[in-house]
Structures are given as C-alpha cells and as structure tokens.
C-alpha cells in the first residue's frame, strides 16, 4: 500500500475528523516508524490543517517522531524503580552489544535505543517498549537475546512470546477485585431503579475520584447531567502516567467489562451517547483485547443502540491512544489531546463538567472510579460505605513496587496504615515510601503509622518503597528529570522552574553544591507551587520540598561545606582553552586542592 493509500484509509475510517489527528499520527508512526514530511503534507491537505500545526502536535508527544527512528525502536522505562532493578546497566549492555549511542539511530537505521518515562510495569521491571510493545522482566540474558534478534532482523511478532507476558500480579483483593457480578448487572439495576435513584446511591456512597484529586463522583455526574447541551460525553482516563502506578493495567486487563459498564452507567445517568477510553500509549499491548471486549458488549446488547432493549439508551465507546505525555493525565489536557491537539491544560473555570470535550458537558473519571461506580449500582451505597473511613469510603488499589519481596497490586480499605502495607508486601529496613508518584509525598519511617486516605495521605495508587541502602537523592534526581521531560512548557514557572530545579539537583548530586543552592531549590519550588498554571507545575517541586524538609541529611552529605559554589566546574570550563593551546600540563589546570 502506498503512503497516500495508507493515509486515505486511516483518515477515511474516522470520516477525516481533525479531532482524530493524534490517532492518525499514531497509526502512521507504527506503520512507517516515523512521520515523514510527505505524510505530514498529505495529512495537512486532507484535514485542512497547517503543516506547522501537525509538526507542533508531533513535537509535543514523546512517541511521535518527524525524523527517522530505528526499525527497532527501543525505549527503556526510566522510572526510579526500573533504575533500582538495574535498567541503566541493561541499557548500557544493549547499546554496547549493538554499537549504538543512546537516543541516536544506528547508522544502518536498524535500531534506536532510548529511554521513556515509567511504562507501568514497575512490579515486573526492568521493562522496555519495543516498537510500542511491552517487554517485562528484563535481565542480561533477555538483553543478549534481544540484541541477537535485532541483528538477525527478526520481526518483533516472532520474538519469544514469553517476553511480552505481563502478569496481573494481584496480591490482595477486597470488595472491588473480588467482584463476581454478571455482565450487565449494573445496567439492569439502572433500568430497574431509574437514573435518579442510582445517582443518589453514588452520591451517598461517598465515592471520590480514584485518580488522586478525590472530587466527589456523584457531584461531578450531577453537575454534568444538569448542564444543558446537545451532547454529553463520558471519558475514561486511562492515561496512567504517574511513575509507580500500574493498577489500571490490571483493571483493563482483567476487569474491563466492569470499567466499560461503569462508563455506560454514567452515560445513562448524564445522558451521553458517546464515550472515549483514553489509553496511554505504553499500554498498546492491551488495545486489541479491549477492542474485542467492546465488540462482545455490543453483540450482547450492553453497548450500542437500545442497551438492554431500553429504547433511547444508546451509548458507544471508542478507544483513543495517548502518545507519551504525562500531562495528558490532567483532565483538560486529556480533552485537548482527544481533540487532536497539543495537550496543554485549559484555563479553568469553565470545568469539563460544563465545557469539556468539543466544549460539551463531559465527565472525566479514572478507570478505578468507573469500576467502583458500577459495583455501587449493583450492591448499593451502604455496601460501599461499609469499608473505608468516614471521609474516604470504599477501597483503594495500590501499585506497590521498589524494595519489597512481594510487589504488585494490593486492594485495601481506605484508612490502612503504611506500616501494615509494608508488612504485607514484606518490605524490610524501609527508609521511606514515596506515595502518589513523582508528584506525591515522601514519607519517612517516623510517619509510617499514617494512613492512606483522602484525609491523610492521598494517593492515585503509586506506592514505591525505598530501603536504607538507597540514596534518596537518586529518587529526587530521577523525579526532577522526569518533570523537565514532562512539563508541557506552557507556563513560565513550570517550564523554566523545572529546568532550574533539575540543574540544582544535579549540582547537589554531583557534589558541587552549597547551602545557597538548597535555599535556591526551596524558593524555586515555592514559586512553582504558588504560581503554576496547572497541577503538574504546582506538584512538580514536591519531591524536592518534601525531602528538603524530611530528609535534610540526604542533601547535607552531598554538600561542599561552603555557602556558595559556582554552577560549573571551573577546571572543566578551561578545556576549550587547553584544546586550543594544545596544553594539558599541570599548569594548565586549576588545582582541585587549593
């Protein structure tokens, strides 16, 4: 098929809608390994968009490229937990074996080796993506085999199937994960009881958003229902990008029916006929099975027109792929991305419940929230309130990784203490727990009696364990680099502040910083927190500010004992002069001891 035909076929399948731009680009990327200027021109003509707009969209998303990548495009997950499992050594091993420089395609165009933000396989890491497909449990043997497969030009489809196997790895089940209801029970309950009664149940259940922000789900649905418009939309946020979170991976693999049913329930209540699952690009491997699930639901009358035979209950779900942008977990960025644009967070108000997708009232909820809502419709509010705490009813799925013997998925009633969790996952000699990901909280041992709940330590689900052998500054550095990579670049404090912060953390890490630099980090962090446009910028300094307060010793041991240190290495700065003069004697160097 020529590129013209390919582009015509993918755009025709979505009626040439501009809003699908990201989806077209995603398809082109995986067909041709990059998006050529010719492809951009063809798309621009077809969609009546400017080429610079398309370049701008490609430039925004990490998984889209307008210059060639290797035929095998390898991305090592670069989360701190991958590092702790030796991912950087494996990356070096692969680069050395293949003779490639990281991030640069090999001269023959065969392969690119690079890194990417957390791929959500933290419990089975180190992990990588090869042409978008997940490989877990990397070790030296697997890397050797992978290098051989690449050198022998073996198609990825023919690589050993066990490489692509990802376990659900559920370690503890509570009311959600022990669900044994039948498909359609929630929707039957909706039809029997009526929309108002079910919405009241959801409200009185106290269900709050599971993404981390904790907005009351029933209230969100009611606001959206009350907003008048010709269309309403339901969006499931499966852009699980917070480093250390992987619970949606399990829900979408093993409980997708219930998640889709929760979306359909919401649609029935707010009056939506169209829904989207925004699936992070890293979970490409889940997509085919999810499409199949949707088809089964249509065939069994649980999706499509006249759901369960009820006239006028029409709803369908489409899957949209993300393309490597953490910011798109923010609901208004996600909506921009769904509309085929750069994922820049919108100005709020107005909020998505009144002005969301296509400027219409839209409910955006987390995967886990939709599943919980479906079960509440079946079992009722009291059932849900019977577990958890007064302000945080129900359970929370935690994604546990790092220094523990049993990483994986743990479902706990809200209110569980951190020390109980650490006991269950068999974590020993724990120095700190990072809860809620890079944007979350660093909890020292003295606070392990604290609880996971909205009123105490609130979390979207990431729970990373660090034992006493770890240098926590490695974590801080990893997160500081993560935020530079993931800042959308829209507002000044996040765009520039994250870079300044990263440079200062690196300066401390390399042993070149003084107290002045720590004070600078404090004030830059406070500025980002106070003045950024969205939640990414306001939470990006958290790991630095939290550890400066609770773990000052991790900084102190790296400090030079002076109040001020220059931002650069004076001797290294003379290298150009040495090169020009051809000198390298002692006199051409600044003494390190002076």
């Amino acid at each position: 098929m020529s590129i013209e035909e390919f582009i015509s076929s993918i755009t025709a399948s979505a009626n040439n809608q501009r809003g699908h731009l990201l989806q077209y680009l995603y398809e082109i990327q995986y067909q041709y390994s990059y998006i050529s200027q010719q492809a951009i021109q063809l798309l621009a003509e077809k969609l009546s968009l400017t080429e610079s707009h398309i370049h701008g969209v490609i430039g925004f998303y990490s998984f889209l490229h307008d210059s060639p990548r290797g035929a095998y495009d390898i991305l090592f997950s670069d989360s701190i937990t991958d590092h702790m499992l030796g991912s950087r050594q494996l990356l070096d091993q692969l680069c050395n074996t293949l003779g490639v420089t990281p991030a640069t395609p090999r001269e023959d165009g065969r392969v690119t080796v690079d890194t990417t933000s957390c791929t959500g396989i933290c419990d089975q890491g180190p992990a990588m993506l090869v042409n978008g497909w997940t490989i877990a449990r990397l070790d030296q043997n697997r890397i050797e085999t992978i290098a051989r497969l690449i050198e022998s030009d073996t198609a990825v489809e023919q690589w050993p199937q066990e490489f692509f196997h990802v376990e659900d790895n559920i370690q503890r089940r509570d009311i959600l994960l022990s669900d044994d209801s039948n498909n359609g029970d929630a929707l039957r309950s909706l039809i029997e009881q009526g929309e108002d009664a079910v919405l009241e149940q959801i409200e009185s259940s106290g269900l709050r958003g599971r993404g981390g922000a904790g907005f009351k789900t029933g209230m969100k649905w009611r606001f959206c229902k009350q907003a008048e418009a010709d269309q309403h939309y339901v969006i499931c946020n499966a852009d699980e990008g917070e480093p250390g979170t992987f619970k949606d991976r399990i829900l979408l693999n093993a409980y997708a029916d219930k998640v889709f049913e929760g979306m359909t329930l919401c649609a029935g209540i707010i009056g939506a006929s169209k829904g989207y699952l925004y699936l992070r690009g890293e979970y490409r491997y889940l997509r085919a099975a999810l499409e199949q699930k949707l088809q089964q639901l249509r065939e069994t009358g649980l999706l499509g027109n006249s759901i369960l035979g009820k006239h006028g209950f029409d709803f369908d779900i489409e899957i949209h792929m993300g393309a490597g942008a953490y910011i798109c977990g923010e609901e208004s960025s996600l909506i921009e991305s769904l509309e085929g644009k750069r994922g820049i967070p919108r100005i709020r108000p107005p909020f998505p419940v009144t002005h969301g997708y296509q400027n219409r009232p839209t409910v955006v909820n987390n995967v886990e929230t939709f599943m919980a809502a479906a079960l509440i419709a079946i079992h009722g509010a009291d059932w849900f309130r019977s577990v958890g705490t007064e302000q945080s009813s129900g359970t929370k799925l935690l994604s546990i990784s790092g220094d523990c013997e049993k990483p994986g998925i743990y479902e706990y009633p809200f209110g569980v203490s951190i020390q109980d969790i650490l006991k269950d996952c068999v974590a020993k000699d724990t120095q700190a727990v990072q809860i809620a990901g890079a944007a979350g909280f660093t909890i020292p041992a003295a606070e392990f009696e604290r609880c996971v709940a909205f009123e105490d330590v609130s979390s979207g689900g990431s729970f990373m364990v660090f034992n006493r052998d770890r240098d926590l500054l490695d974590m801080v550095k990893n997160f500081a680099h993560f935020f530079v990579h993931e800042s959308c670049g829209f507002c000044t404090p996040c765009r520039v502040g994250a870079s300044l912060m990263k440079d200062l953390v690196d300066k401390v890490h390399s042993g070149h910083a003084g107290q002045y630099d720590l004070d600078e980090m404090q004030s830059i962090g406070q500025l980002m927190r106070a003045t950024s446009h969205c939640g990414l910028g306001t939470t990006a300094p958290n790991p630095v500010l939290d550890t400066l307060e609770k773990f000052p010793q991790i900084y102190e041991k790296h400090l030079k004992h002076s109040s001020y240190e220059p931002a650069f290495d004076l001797d290294a700065a003379l290298q150009d002069a040495r090169d020009i003069t051809g000198r390298d004697d002692a006199g051409a160097h600044l003494g390190t001891e002076s």
């Binding site: 707009h53 701008g56 430039g59 100005i347 108000p349 670049g489 765009r495 994250a498 440079d503 003045t531």
Partner: protein, 242 residues
C-alpha cells in the same frame, strides 16, 4: 447585567461586570496589574503568570480569574512582587535578552515590567540557548533569542489575520515558536508587515526592519514614564510604526 458589583484591589473598590476577569476590571478602572502574555484584544491566555495576584488567600492569574463580588485582591505586597520578579528572571535566563544591544530596548514590555518589579539582575543561571535570527522577510525580522512564548503572534495570526503563520512546536523547555512555511522561514510564509501578528509582540522578537533607531534611546516608550502609566507596547505599536 449589573455594573454595581465590586471587589477590592489593594483596598480600592473596583467595579466589574458579569464576565469580567480581575484583569479586565482592573484595567478598565485604570489600575495596573503587570502582564506580558495578556492583551485585552485577545482572550486570556494565562501562560506568563506575571499577573499573579492573591485573591482571598489564593494565588491566581488575574487575567484568567473571573472577578467576584467582595473578593480582596493583593496586587502589590512584597510576596507578590517577589514572585513576579522571579518569574521575570526566569524569562530572562531562559532566552538571550541582551538589553543594551537590543533595538527594542526602551520600548520593550519585558524590560519595562522588569523595571516595574524592581528586577536588578537575572539572578538565575543563564541557559544561553542556541537560537537563530530569521531575516528572510523583506519587512520584518524575527530574533528567536527574545521570544518568551506568549503566543500573541500565534493568536493574532490565527484569529485575526486568519493566516496561521505561527505555531508552537516541541514540549517543555524545548517549546519553540515556529513558522508555517516550507522552509520554516518567515520570508516563505504569507506574513505581511500589515498583519496584526506583526504588531502584538511584547518583546523584541518580531521587529520591523529599517526603523530600528528612528526613535532615539531616551525618547522611547518607557524611557520617561513607567509601564504602569504608559501601558502595553501593543497599544502604541500602530502609531509608532506609522
């Protein structure tokens, strides 16, 4: 619609109308809130964050926040001015802003706001990015060193000129202004000196050629009075060029 609602800005009563932001109402009342990406002719953008104020204890950008009855807005405390200064310093170190060698000096909003918030040094470590000058267009030059990503040219070209000459590419610290033309050069685009987009740049990134020192240093827009009195550079652009 009622004109009788008011809020307090540094203790002064500011009347506002339905749909006003804090910035809209303040500007109408003749009160200055420092800003760079905001231009009253365009919908609020909220990216530079320089118009940060404290409203009832919350830090928000005045250009995007709806005005509300009886809120108390702090527009001048030391804390607010310190934050604005730090934001300005970030913009200065992010690009290459060499005021003494810039032909926009004296009529540059970035420089004028920096003076207003008492910025005396860039404070942070310079990034010294490698950026180029695009002199391919007959009448207008672009010096990317000075772009602060306010997107006013993007918005003006898209919404007023209907040409879409400008766009933003990249992400995060690698975000950059780009030109929609086959070569990426302004000269190959449909841009014209009469475009609205040629008259909205608050800094010296989009500059008319051949007029650099028509107005001598010392006689320029902000040379005699501060920006709080003179107002935005874009509001004076049209008369300056004629």
């Amino acid at each position: 619609m009622s004109g009788s609602n008011t809020f307090k800005l540094d203790g002064k009563d500011i009347p506002f109308e339905d749909g006003d932001t804090i910035m809209d109402a303040a500007l109408r009342a003749g009160e200055y809130i420092p800003h760079l990406c905001h231009n009253p002719e365009f919908p609020p953008h909220g990216s530079c964050r320089v118009c940060i104020v404290n409203a009832n204890g919350r830090q928000i950008s005045a250009c995007t926040e709806p005005a509300m009855e009886n809120i108390e807005v702090d527009n001048s405390s030391d804390e607010i001015m310190d934050q604005r200064r730090a934001l300005l310093q970030m913009l200065f170190v992010e690009g290459n802003h060499v005021c003494p060698g810039c032909e926009k000096s004296g009529a540059c909003q970035l420089q004028a706001v920096a003076y207003y918030v008492n910025m005396l040094s860039p404070h942070f470590t310079h990034f010294f990015p490698q950026r180029s000058v695009d002199a391919s267009h007959a009448d207008i030059a672009i010096d990317y060193d000075r772009c602060i990503l306010c997107e006013l040219c993007v918005r003006a070209s898209r919404d007023v000129d209907h040409k879409n000459v400008f766009a933003i590419d990249g992400r995060g610290i690698n975000s950059q202004l780009v030109i929609n033309s086959p070569s990426g050069k302004l000269g190959d685009s449909s841009f014209a000196a009469t475009d609205k987009a040629a008259h909205v740049c608050p800094v010296g990134a989009i500059l008319p050629k051949h007029t650099a020192y028509d107005s001598p240093i010392g006689e320029r827009l902000y040379d005699k009075k501060p920006i709080s009195i003179v107002g935005d550079v874009a509001a004076h652009e049209q008369d300056e060029d004629r």
